[in-house]
Amino acid sequence: MTIFYVLLVFVIIAALVAVETKNLLSAVICIGAVGFGASLLFLFLRAPDIAITQIVVEVLGLVILIRATISRDKTFITGDREFFAVVVSVVIVFVILLAGVHVFQTLPDFGKPAFAVAAESDRLPAPASQKYIKDGLKDTGAANLVASVILDYRAYDTLGEATVLFTSIIGATVIMRRKSRKLLEEPEI
């Protein structure tokens, strides 16, 4: 359990450094550290699928992010921020944080998944995850239950997910195109 907390604190510190550093390139590297820390966390939380995906996505994401920052004239942030605005927003963030911490006491304790609590409770309807674990192999024939959820039980979500990727690729090619407007000739109707 200690490893878990160490990783979590590492991720938070890396995120803080990424937020506060003046050099954009080191901010991007720090966000890479956050991603890899998150990937290790996923591995620790018994989510190997997510860990693999996170790590490969992180590599590509870093390539994309570095592409944005490198070979720019100035990668250093210049100019001061208004002190007052920063203080006000820190206070707001802190207040929301304090309010939010109480919220998490309503969740089941860490280490006890929500579906297990719901399955035991008589006030909550039967959760879907219980069936996925019990009957997933029989229902879909896939030994990897995550695959059976994303590609069979909830395949419609995955269609949406593939579409999001498709959308953003089309969007990016549209944004990056050389010429956006052309002279309009008089159309013949």
């Binding site: 190997p48 699928d49 860990a51 693999i52 995906t53 490969v56 996505v57 590599v59 590509l60 390539v63 994309i64 592409r67 944005a68 192999l137 879909t140 024939g141 896939a142 030994a143 990897n144 995550v146 695959a147 059976s148 994303i150 590609l151 069979d152 395949a155 419609y156 995955t158 269609l159 593939a162 579409t163 990727l165 498709f166 953003s168 690729i169 990016a172 090619t173 990056m176 050389r178």
Partner: protein, 153 residues
Amino acid sequence: MKGMTVIVKTISSWIKVLIFLFGIYIIFFGHLTPGGGFSGGVILASSYVLLMLAFGREFAQENLSLGVASKLDCVGALLFIAVALCGLLYGAAGFFLNFIYQKLEIGQEFNLVSAGTIPLSNIAIGLKVGASLFLIVLVLSMFRPEISAPEKE
């Protein structure tokens, strides 16, 4: 000379095959072991990105051009939705029905050919994700800031 040094080029030309095969493995065994279409697709894309970094953009583009990549992207997405629509052959309520497993009953559990439409969807997604992520890196790297000189058109 485009790209990086000879050492990097030699090593990456060996490694790229391994990465590519690993991506295909991840896609094909996505329903049995951790992994699947998305992570496999990203790995496929990164083998091309490696080529691009080591040998320069032109070399990678000779292997897989922009137009082909964007067509593969569309084809992958179409394949996925085609798998979904095939379920409709088994009645109007069959959108996304895992028809191969539930109706045709092909495949033994824990085998490569099992789980019905799941491997098919994984392949379609792998194709789509690989093509589209390669495309995005290519598009971002092809971009050069505009020159103020008037264009000849």
